[in-house]
């Protein structure tokens, strides 16, 4: 009975949580949020699925093996740092692009860096939880 509720709830909660996590990631530079919390929330979404439908289902939705996702996150963060480096600035220097000259910039490598954090956190949390859930089966 409770499992049924969980299943139904998870099906609706999953996209909502994922959306919320992206929202947290996006607004994190200005309001409370950011890659860490975003990643944690997104991971929670997958954990919910794993608890309701089993780990394979969560893995299926994730496509990539979670630990690989984590490594990809580190790679993205490293690359974001390397952008400034290629442009002759010190490593991890933030590079920003404004929509039009004179306006305050909206897109920059720090955001890319935060995306790396986000991916990494999702991967890490899921790597732990999914493997452990599988292990207890």
């Amino acid at each position: 009975m409770s499992l049924l509720i969980l299943r139904t709830a998870s099906r609706y909660l999953f996209p909502l949580l994922l959306l919320f996590s992206v929202f947290l990631l996006w607004r994190g530079h200005h309001e409370p949020g950011g890659g860490f919390v975003g990643g944690l929330v997104a991971a929670t979404a997958f954990v919910l699925i794993a608890l309701a439908e089993g780990a394979p289902s969560a893995r299926e939705r994730l496509r990539l093996a979670p630990e690989r996702l984590a490594v990809c996150g580190v790679a993205v963060a490293t690359l974001s740092g390397a952008v400034g480096w290629f442009l002759g600035e010190p490593f991890l220097t933030g590079i920003w692009w404004a929509a039009s000259p004179g306006e305050s910039p909206v897109v920059g490598t720090p955001l890319l860096f935060d995306l790396g954090v986000y991916l990494s956190v999702i991967g890490v949390v899921l790597a732990f939880l999914l493997t452990l859930i599988e292990e207890t089966k």
Binding site: G28, E31, L40, E67, G108, P110, F113, D114
Partner: protein
């Protein structure tokens, strides 16, 4: 001479690798190398005696003043001659004795390295170079004593010799460093010239003690003498070379070298004379009681080493002269006798003096050499040994203090040595009363020739006493004691008390020898103490040390992680407790920071949650309480203006609880689960820790003294980093390197966990053996 040393070391390292090739005639030819060195040394001695100085100097560690410095002076060159000359005989001898033995290359390898090291000791003009060579002799001696390492006895003897000489080596190193600190240089010739500075320095007693400990350990002075008889486990040619002629002389050579620097004080005189006389008497008496030929020679060597120390201690010019003569004479006759012992052992298979007799027929050349050497050792004319005894008597009888006592001790020891000479050099060949010992193996020519050659040298040196004095003895003695001794050594210098003493010594020695059936058992009653007493103390010391080591290890590293954590915590808390300013903390209690009802609830949640974990009935309940603590922490963050932290902490806590809940099923069942009492020590430590941390946080909540750097972030977050959430900007921009490191930590944790669990699964399905 400097370039010879590295060449010899290189040869020594290469020879073991040349195994098969080395086992032919090559080693015999190789003895030409030391022969050439000996020839050069003899040729150079006349130049050196004329006042010429041969030096070599190349920088090694210039910023510490250390150089590859070598300097040839008459004393050093005399040593070079002995090392190379006797080395020639030993290399040839061992090549013949171990011909065909697969271990010969290693023996020769170590021998060549050793020879290089000895040449270095004789010629070094820098403390570090000298020490380098010194340690090299320790190591090669260790390898050579343990040559027969298949037997436990050889290994034990090798280790003991190593530890005694290494102890000395470390003392010597300390002394050398101290000298270099006081004198401001490591150059020996400079140091030799600054004796007054050193003798007047407050550290002089320490320096003297260290140097003496090092030299005495090497030269087997009482009470560190016991390793030397033990070292007779080495092959006989090695004993001849290391343990009579050269290495054990390195100690007294070093002391002779440093006598212009450290000598001439009361302490020097007392220690040298005391230790030297003790070693001399004990060695001589113990020699009388020995049945093993090599051990007898070892103890008589001890006695002579004691005499040499005694002579150095006297500090008079004639004592320096006696030192040089005794030193040369002993090297020649004792090496000969060792090689003879080797021949006898090789030919008959025994070294027991009660079993050996009547060998002169079977081993005529060996017998001839034995008699020459024995005559020299006994101190009868016309051999060099006679001269040695005469000069030594002369020096001791005219000692500045205690002449009577020292004189009688010296004569008594000499009597014992006469006995030992007859017993080792004559008795095996003569006494054929009950039929000769059977000879099992023939001796190769080099084994016969080597002792004969060395013995003859002793004879020649005795005959040519004039040139010997002019070129070798007088210049070397001058290097030890800077005022010259009267010249005019000769085998005959009229009827003097010394001659009478000499004659009496010989007569008494012969008398003892004829009554050996009664004397030997009597002396034998206390001789074992000399052999085993100090060595038993030494061994007991090591035993106690090792037992103490085991005890402390079992106390500290006892395999209990609980104890490790407790000790680590206790140490850490002790350090913190010492450093906390309690006055400030007590003051901080009165200050009330902003007070919030929610914060009160949060604080109580944290406290209560932690307390509840202790009383939780099941592991899952404890996890729930842990979660409550986390929520409380999150609330604290929320109340005190850290929304990002609060959010993160909350989600992390949820995930932590899930993790714990999952893991609790996979862990081994906990017997002591959550209930039950805690150990009193844990409660004490926990209380102290709690109080300290509470104090520390009160202290931490005091406002800081200085404006924090974060003001920069507040001013520039929007303007330069284009973000309004300053915490996030710090994480992804201002301090993004920290965050990069952090996600690396996260990722590694995940990868590691996945790998471990995959291996666990493989193990449980039998894929990989545990």
């Amino acid at each position: 001479m400097h370039w010879v040393i590295p060449c010899l070391v290189a040869a020594g390292c290469l020879i073991p690798a040349l195994g098969r090739w080395w086992n032919g005639r090559v080693p015999l030819i190789a003895s030409a190398v030391p022969a050439a060195i000996a020839a050069v040394s003899i040729w150079q001695q006349s130049l050196l005696a004329a006042g010429e100085v041969v030096q070599f100097h190349a920088p090694w560690v210039p910023s510490a003043g250390i150089a590859w410095a070598f300097r040839l002076d008459p004393l050093g060159n005399l040593f070079v001659g002995l090392i190379a000359g006797i080395g020639t005989a030993v290399v040839a001898y061992s090549a013949a004795a171990y011909s065909g033995d697969a271990r010969l290359p290693r023996l020769h390898g170590a021998l060549f390295v050793f020879m290089a090291a000895m040449l270095g000791i004789a010629t070094a003009d820098d403390l570090v170079v000298l020490f380098l060579c010194w340690e090299l002799t320790t190591v090669s001696s260790f390898l050579l004593v343990g040559f027969d390492h298949q037997t436990e006895a050889a290994r034990v003897a090798a280790r003991r010799a190593l530890l005694v000489t290494a102890t000395g080596g470390l003392a010597l190193l300390t002394g050398f460093v101290a000298i270099s600190v006081v004198a401001g240089t490591t150059s020996i010739s400079t140091i030799v010239a600054s004796g007054d500075l050193l003798r007047a320095h407050a550290a002089y007693p320490w320096i003297l003690g260290c140097i003496l400990a090092g030299a005495f350990a090497k030269s087997a002075q009482f009470p560190l003498h016991f390793w030397l008889p033990g070292a007779m486990k080495a092959p006989t040619p090695i004993s001849a070379y290391l343990h009579s002629a050269t290495m054990v002389k390195a100690g007294v050579f070093l002391l002779a070298r440093f006598s212009p620097v450290l000598g001439g004080t009361d302490a020097w005189f007392a220690i040298f004379v005391g230790i030297g006389a003790t070693t001399m008497v004990l060695g001589a008496t113990a020699a009388v009681a020995q049945d093993d030929l090599k051990r007898l020679l070892a103890y008589s060597t001890l006695s002579v080493l004691g005499l040499l120390t005694l002579l150095l201690g006297l500090g008079t010019p004639i004592a320096a002269r006696a030192f040089v003569v005794t030193w040369m004479a002993h090297a020649l006759y004792k090496a000969t006798l060792f090689l003879i012992a080797g021949n006898i052992d090789h030919a008959t298979g025994t070294r027991s003096l009660t079993a050996l007799r009547g060998l002169r027929g079977a081993l005529p050349a060996t017998a001839a050499a034995g008699i020459i050497a024995a005559v020299s050792m006994g101190g009868a004319p016309p051999l060099f040994g006679f001269l040695a005894k005469e000069t030594a008597y002369e020096a001791v009888f005219e000692a500045p203090r205690w002449a009577g006592l020292l004189g009688s001790l010296t004569v008594a020891s000499a009597v014992c040595l006469v006995f030992a000479a007859l017993r080792s050099g004559v008795q095996p060949f003569w006494d054929s009363g009950r039929g000769a010992t059977p000879v099992l193996r023939a001796l190769p020519i080099p084994m016969q020739a080597a002792p004969v050659a060395l013995g003859t040298l002793g004879l020649v040196a005795g005959m040519l006493v004039g040139p010997a004095e002019r070129f070798w003895i007088a210049p070397a003695a001058l290097a030890i004691n800077q005022s010259a001794a009267p010249t005019g050594l000769s085998l005959w210098h009229g009827f003097t008390p010394i001659l009478a003493a000499s004659a009496a010594t010989l007569a008494l020695g012969a008398l003892v020898f004829t009554n050996r059936a009664r004397v030997v058992p009597w002396v034998g009653r206390f001789a074992p103490w000399v052999a085993t007493g100090p060595s038993a103390i030494w061994d007991a010391g090591w035993r106690v040390l090792l037992q103490g080591a085991r005890w402390q290890t079992s106390q500290l590293q006892n395999g209990s992680p609980r104890r490790y954590v407790a000790t680590t915590l206790a140490a850490a808390l002790a350090v913190i407790a010492v450093g906390l300013p309690w006055g400030t903390i007590v003051g901080a209690v009165h200050e009330i920071a902003p007070f919030e009802i929610v914060a009160l609830a949060a604080g109580l949640l944290v406290m209560g949650g932690s307390l509840i974990t202790l009383r939780a009935p099941t592991p899952l309940a404890a996890v729930a309480a842990l979660g409550a603590v986390g929520v409380g922490v999150s609330l604290v963050f929320l109340v005190y203006s850290a929304p990002d932290l609060a959010l993160t902490q909350l989600v992390v806590e949820v995930l932590t609880v899930v993790l714990f809940a999952l893991v609790v099923r996979l862990l081994p069942r906990a017997k002591t689960q959550t209930m039950g009492s805690h150990r009193p020590s844990a409660i004490v430590l926990a209380t102290i820790g709690g109080v300290l941390m509470a104090g520390l946080s009160l202290l931490a909540s005091q406002p800081g003294l200085l404006e924090p750097t974060s003001a920069y972030f507040e001013l520039n977050s929007v303007a330069l980093a284009h973000g309004r959430n300053i915490v996030n900007v710090i994480l992804v921009d201002f301090r993004s390197l920290d965050t990069l490191g952090e996600i690396v930590v996260l990722t590694v944790a995940a990868l590691g966990a996945v790998s471990l669990l995959a291996r666990r699964r493989a193990t449980s399905t039998g894929g990989i053996a545990p």
